[in-house]
Symmetry: C2
Subunit: 295 residues, 2 copies
């Protein structure tokens, strides 16, 4: 038993899946589901994601050794001042936000001494959101960033790392600034590029039946991300604009280089080959896909 009580604020895909994983693996004596929508909380309880539910943050956080905030980054950042007085002494508080600077900054201002905030970003998701798609193995085999700063309690980082490891994540430690820059390059820019490729095809003015019939697997794969939840991606863009802009500048620069080499008959082979080698090297180092949860 790693924790007595874990309170999860926001029982959607990420919060619901974490509750299921904690309960299935016996990592908490009690998981409390906290949120604003009682019907959704009851659905989460019915799915086995929590033992108890409440719409009161005060009540829901009072006994929690670990509080996990599962809401959009802006909502978490704005709610932290109000929540701060509800955390019990010694509690560890974390979140699952896709960007980290804003939340960590808000937490370091709001959370009183004796309560320990550590930012988390589990890189687990799905095209579908909501507790209906939650599953206990959502975190298995996926990276989870922890983003301590100079002000973060090391023991709390260690306990949180144990928790995320225990639900199947691979722990990656970095600071919030570096996290947001890396995420922009390996996650946010690929999403924007995928959307831009979908718009390029749509802008051809061809009949959609025709377009769908001529698209090959390369098109379907590179544009898959464009199907992602618009609200979530709008929020990510709003929370990480400078890093995303910098990553897109670099991406555009690479595309302009390729365009120039192709149009002018330059050495596109070397450019293609550098990309291929880089991708193959990463492939070789790619962690093996994890199996389902150990039982």
């Amino acid at each position: 038993m790693m924790f007595d009580t874990v309170s999860i604020w926001g029982m959607g895909l990420l919060g619901g899946s974490l509750g299921m994983a904690l309960r299935e693996r016996g990592l908490a004596r009690r998981v409390a589901g906290v949120g604003r929508d009682l019907a959704r909380l009851e659905t989460a309880r019915a799915r086995g994601a929590c033992d108890a539910v409440t719409t009161s943050a005060e009540e829901g956080f009072a006994e929690a050794d670990l509080v996990v905030l599962c809401a959009p980054v802006a909502v978490i950042a704005d709610s932290l001042p109000r929540f701060a007085r509800c955390f019990k002494t010694g509690a560890i508080i974390t979140d699952v936000g896709s960007t980290k600077r804003r939340i960590v900054e808000a937490a370091e201002k709001a959370v009183p001494s004796g309560r320990h905030f550590v930012g988390s970003h589990p890189m687990s998701g799905a095209e579908m959101s909501g507790v209906a798609y939650a599953r206990a193995d959502l975190y298995v085999g996926n990276p989870c960033f922890l983003t301590p700063t100079i002000r973060t309690d090391p023991d709390s980082v260690a306990r949180l790392a144990q928790m995320w490891s225990a639900v199947g994540s691979r722990i990656v430690l970095t600071d919030p600034e570096r996290h947001d820059a890396l995420a922009a390059a390996v996650s946010h820019a690929p999403h924007i590029a995928s959307s831009a490729l979908a718009l390029l095809a749509a802008g051809l003015g061809e009949d959609e039946n025709y377009l769908a019939s001529i698209a090959g697997s390369g098109f379907w794969d590179t544009t898959r991300l464009a199907k992602g939840d618009v609200t979530m991606w709008e929020e990510i863009c709003a929370d990480n604009p400078d890093c995303i802009a910098m990553a897109l500048d670099r991406l555009i620069e690479e595309l302009r280089t390729a365009r120039r080499l192709i149009a002018e008959g330059g050495d596109i082979r070397d450019w293609l080959d550098r990309a291929r080698q880089a991708r193959l090297e990463l492939d070789d180092l790619r962690p093996a896909p994890a199996k389902g949860p150990a039982t």
Copy 2:
């Protein structure tokens, strides 16, 4: 029996797979493998891709009712004048090149009257090339462009369409110009974008082990194409530079729009939503993945 003798010039992934499919489905009495490398031809024969082999185009094409040229676009275009006198009267000649303007133009100049050239582009491929990866179901469920012009014999188009349908392809008819523009947008630009995303990640200066550990499925999927055969892609870029440049210009324009909206707090939601809707509409129209070959 659709053809008496089919001659395939170039027994690699595409040529070998076509030979296997024709033989397995009883579409030709005899498949002749023609090429420059006898050892490779013998491997193709051992794998069941042809009945006979020869390194002489004159001999290999003499009896062929259908000749399929399976080589890089430039090689086919350059070889056509030499091959032209080897095709028998009434023969249908086609190719499998990824771009069509250059080959069709060369063929319309070189092929004498009474022999019928029709350009083909089966959008089937794999990351691995060579006859070792050939398989009889390579074409099943994938689009195959046929690119007739005003000078093309309609009966030959019809017979060729029957052949590609019989090995499992979905036939798409268009002219060479439109083919190359469409392919640039839905295939060539996605490949370049995928390579650019791989170079963006590689350019971060992070340790590769670290990068591989933080990459999520979005990164792996959007950069998968970057692993493709460099020689083939170099050739495609050389054969279709104007259309690729135009597609990349549009892609860069979309990325610049997104970058501006994100950096300036504009309506990125609408941009993301248009991309999502476009992709979802295509998804709904996506032809069902075909099953293996009918027996």
